[in-house]
Point group: C2
Chain length 101, copies 2
Amino acid sequence: MEPHEPDLTAVPVTNVLAALADDVRLQIVRALAEGGEAACGSFDFGVSKATRSHHLRVLREAGLTRTRAAGTSRLVRLRRDELDKLYPGLLDAVLTQRPPA
Amino acid sequence: MEPHEPDLTAVPVTNVLAALADDVRLQIVRALAEGGEAACGSFDFGVSKATRSHHLRVLREAGLTRTRAAGTSRLVRLRRDELDKLYPGLLDAVLTQRPPA
DNA sequence: GGTGTTGTTCGATTATTGTCGAACAAGGGT
DNA sequence: ACCCTTGTTCGACAATAATCGAACAACACC
């Protein structure tokens, strides 16, 4: 299986935004931004592993993450450098803690 | 009808991103960013006026635009200052012309 | 070889969203 | 008063996307 990690410049902005416009995926991105590389299983946000796998695929195919195999696990990391270069400020804006309610 | 223009800080980030994650709406936002205030009818992007009205509602309810009546028209404008303050870099990142394909 | 762990894929279901035409509402002319 | 322009709202329908359980694949370890 090709990992389907597209060139970021080939991904429409709307796809990048759509990938970020989901609560579960945003939590994953936040976790990756803070903790660096992490195994898929470490993102336990109240969804089944099938759903989690789906969200990780969306993030990967939107060019937001890279995945590499490591034993039986798969390690995921944010493509932060590329994102910051192509969309400066986007990640920072999105990752900023929500203003106190 | 209350125009439903929420306090930006009360809108979840995912809603803001979802509002931007649509091609028609992104074109509207780009037009507003360049041309300032504009009438609803000026956004002719190959959709019916019903659909256009729907998209403008989504943008308004996500806190991205403000609308005011002017005769039989309605003038729409970007809430750029507020957006830039709350999500610095977001609009700039999104409005930047896509890299040449 | 067998067992457990970790993920992915498949098919089905449900929910959300984009789209339209038609009907309606508010104004501005003439 | 009448009509035209400009938008909004109302169903309805189609397309997309989120979610799950179950089946499957790859690997590690005993």
